[in-house]
């Protein structure tokens, strides 16, 4: 057990990271402290072996490209990717290039593909406007996907992100849930840019208010994308229920989904597959009466994934010399555990 979304069998994660620090490029653009994180529901052909999925909206001042298809059809037919705000379109475009190369029938007849691409803004530490991530970077992120341990903190889509005034980024966690005689896994991966310092709760302790002011008082608040995976045999209606519980995990960290945030849950199950061109799907649906332990596991995984992102990210100096402190772990430990 890795305490990662990849504890859900078949799930793969990859990152492309661009980390320039504080120096712009010779053409005046940059610096770029940004990246792409890719989550694959499995290692096979995502287009022909679709998995059930759902998206939830806590606050919609953001973008989840490809959401319409998931809402209507209840499946994923492509990778999930996370990136910096204005880069969504370029990553979608690159994923279409990749998909149409792999599957030449896409874009003909009634065959399409719908990459699910969501974003947080890294504009405080990175040049958001110049959009440095295109095909090469997206392909690199795809190439890097694998099971096993997941890098956290200032990597991939998390490279330039901040939460609660401290450096954050990618975080992940997982839980085992005993359900109806089986044990299922729920894993979460977040790309977190959420929260003001004074909101931060760690296991309920208002450490944000107790810590000395962070170094980035003018850093804007941002968004969070919460990806939840499970091997429990759920379908889209139920995965929407899980995605909504991701919001509750967020709440436990003290964030309140401020006005300008794009806070979304994405949930998928590897426990059912929809084979393309099969006229009738035979599916298993865990009874809703058994589902509550998966709700608990979702809430806990998301809460911990956010805290893990904060714990894994170090101090960072980015665009225009903007500096963001790391969460002072020793101080947090002292405040939470009450140890001297």
């Amino acid at each position: 057990v890795l305490n990662a979304i990849t504890d859900v069998p078949d799930v793969r994660v990859g990152h492309f990271t661009r980390r320039d620090g504080s120096e712009p490029g010779s053409d005046g653009s940059g610096p770029f402290n940004t990246g792409i994180t890719v989550v694959l529901a499995h290692g096979g052909d995502l287009y022909t072996e679709r998995v059930p999925a759902a998206v939830s909206v806590l606050n919609g001042s953001g973008e989840v490209a490809g959401r319409e298809f998931v809402d209507e059809m209840g499946v994923l037919d492509a990778p999930i990717a996370l990136t910096g705000s204005f880069n969504v379109a370029r990553v979608v475009d690159a994923l279409i290039t990749d998909a149409t190369r792999r599957r030449p029938e896409l874009g003909h007849g009634e065959r399409y593909v719908h990459p699910l691409v969501a974003e947080c803004s890294d504009s405080y530490l990175s040049d958001l406007v110049a959009r440095p991530l295109g095909e090469a970077e997206t392909f690199a992120a795809l190439e890097s996907t694998r099971d096993g341990p997941v890098a956290e903190g200032a990597v991939g889509a998390g490279t330039g992100l901040i939460s609660f005034g401290y450096k954050a980024g990618i975080g992940t966690a997982s839980r085992l849930a005993p359900v109806a005689g089986e044990t299922y896994t729920v894993g979460a991966l977040v790309s977190t840019n959420t929260g003001r310092r004074e909101q931060l709760l760690v296991r309920g302790v208002p450490v944000g208010r107790l810590l000395s002011p962070a170094l980035a008082p003018d850093a804007p608040q941002g968004s969070i994308i919460m990806v939840v995976a499970t091997d429990a045999p759920l379908l889209a209606r139920q995965l929407r229920r899980l995605a909504q519980r991701a919001h509750l995990g967020l709440a436990r960290t003290g964030a309140t989904a401020w006005n300008g945030s794009g806070d979304f849950g994405v949930a998928f199950s590897t426990g059912n597959r929809y084979a393309l061109d099969e006229p009738l799907h035979r599916l298993c649906e865990l009874a809703d009466g058994e589902i509550s332990p998966l709700f608990d596991a979702t809430v806990e995984s998301v809460e911990e994934a956010i805290l893990n992102a904060l714990c894994a990210a170090g101090e960072f100096v980015g665009r225009a010399g903007a500096s963001v402190a790391a969460l002072p772990l020793a101080d947090v430990q002292r405040l939470v555990l009450g140890t001297a």
Copy 2:
């Protein structure tokens, strides 16, 4: 084939009709020209053999009691009932009485029941305020449920309804849909109170404008409830798709879902059953790629069900002597078929 929602195997329909004409009762209340129409997904125990279901909203200025449960759980656990607007609560209450008598465990532990009760207003022809329908009337409607032919026009919940300025009420129709090597049935039953006279289209012919003005110029517009049943193996997500196509069938009759209407679709499938207390459900889901013929069948069934309601209802004199004409069928036939 009966051209009725009961062409879908297992589906049952019953009516309770109260028809007082124009005379109030001795206590000053009434007259009552109203009723209850019940649709059962099957003749067994609805609570323990649940069927997938969904509700759609075209215009929400109305009420569908029990919708929250269907939205969240994707199943029906009780009868569907239609009635006059202010009577919804009394019919819900009576259905709870009935359910708790039949299943004494309901109302204990985690066992509840959620009757799905929707309404149209019959206030032009009936005393809406006095709410004459309670347990006896609801039980009578339940008792009368059966498969086979369905009475249409001024019966049950349709007793006091008007559409397009003409007397309307309950209508039903069905279609066969060839899908993936099978033939499935789609049936619709509507309780229709929708439309102004000048909107009415019959097979596209603007008969509403061409007919001489109806006799009830001050009759208010109302709502429509469109119940769609199928034996195709669908689940809730797909049934919501069917329910939304019911709106398109309505549109073909010329109605535009005016501001004050409560226009809802309700769709269920008898092709999957959820056995209560089963921890894991094994389900069949027709591939979405095969579903379009069911969409066509829904649109056509709903359109025809509305017209059937108009064709079946005769002239009616109700509350305060209010008179509503029947659709002049010979004139409509002449206008639509172009025959002299």
Copy 3:
């Protein structure tokens, strides 16, 4: 400042409480430990001076009668009432009686009324099936509405409720929010039946796990209704945003909205009025860019209202001698404050 929803000017609250204890009635029904809580947006004519409102759904295994109208029209045209699950229909019916007596034009022409009635189940402590609350009880609750202090705990709709294994019921709280040069009030009132003991967090401390097991190990989990009021000039779209933040307040108490719950937010603003029959409404809408302090205030008010419900309710013995302990306040204080 009362730390209550009535801190929002114009808002009124009333309770009807029926508390029989453990003895059934001579006819074998009962005992009844249940009630009705009414929230009025203002003390005037709710039907003709409507206020903007919205409902949010965290988990829909419950019922909010009247929700369709609020969703579509964005206003309340009637009281909000909370009660025990199977009593919703009878309270709706009584509120229709009351409204049609006060406003004889309702139920005629295009004039209707849509009471918003939500529920939690009090079946562990009260006879849910027999539904003892009708017109007299509803009218008494309406009569009792007033501004000023709000009784909390085992009163009104909260009489028979349990949360986190301890006796709960009605709770309320409020916050002041500085916004754009003004100070607005946000108040919450909850009817809480949510959570298992081991989930309870008080200011983040897992007191539920640390306390000795509660006395009602077989008490089922339940639902929560979270009513949020504000005098900030918001409209329905924004009030839906507030209602969704109520979910985040719930999350902070440790609840995860289990499968069988009906967890809903209801938010309204007294800062705009819709005069009936006015053809054009002149409205003020706080800029969304200014709204975040109201989100924070909502989250905090709801969290505290839930805790207040627990703090205010004492030990309770109900149906079949079922006993529910009060939250042991001294122990909680010790655990949360770390004092000996």
Copy 4:
């Protein structure tokens, strides 16, 4: 009056059209028969003078980039653009480039921009995979925006579209609606790729079945985007109501929103403006009780816009020599008017 969406004061439309016919390019890609259509709510700064807006979903097997922001905030802060399916990302990207050049503060602090870009597939007549539309083409479409007459048929995003087996594309229409002593305008612009030949209804006459088979029997069905503008003072909640009525206009043409379609309504009002950075917006909202004539105008405008797209488009030969006939207008006229 032009019978166009530009009859709504301030609204502007522009097209970029690429029409290669049947010849691929020297590099093997193409031919491209595709384009971009831009709709601007007004000619000022869309980012700082936002208009209320809403999106509706009839069938979601498509994409509307930017929808999350409109759903949450109820406003447009950018142009609306329509294009071929796989080109959505490139058009979004170009619109971000344009916006950030015009408004250098975008992409900094809390300033973003959310172009609303929707699509239909032109893969039958155009090379969808190669995505030929980038910044130059998007800027050309923006440059071409103007009030006054709107080109219809095989232009802009409509260049390669087909409806009901006949060549289609862009269509527009408008209606005047008398409301509460004022006369407001409702205009629709559609990009239509919807329907099978045998479904087509023209004023209710099943001309699709009566006409001889079309020349493109294997042309796939597609999607439709229905943009509705009005100068009536509505807000987002009400505009969603209008957007949903666009579905009813579609239904009158015989289309049933088949499984694979991305059928969306987009509605905006020029009758209210949200000035950025204003802390409190003073708005006018037409009473919902007055709104029904706008519903009728929406249904009629959308129905006619679809038919206008069919009437304006001529025979077309595209990719791989695929030929699509024009709707045979004389035959249709004969069938509909019954003239010899």
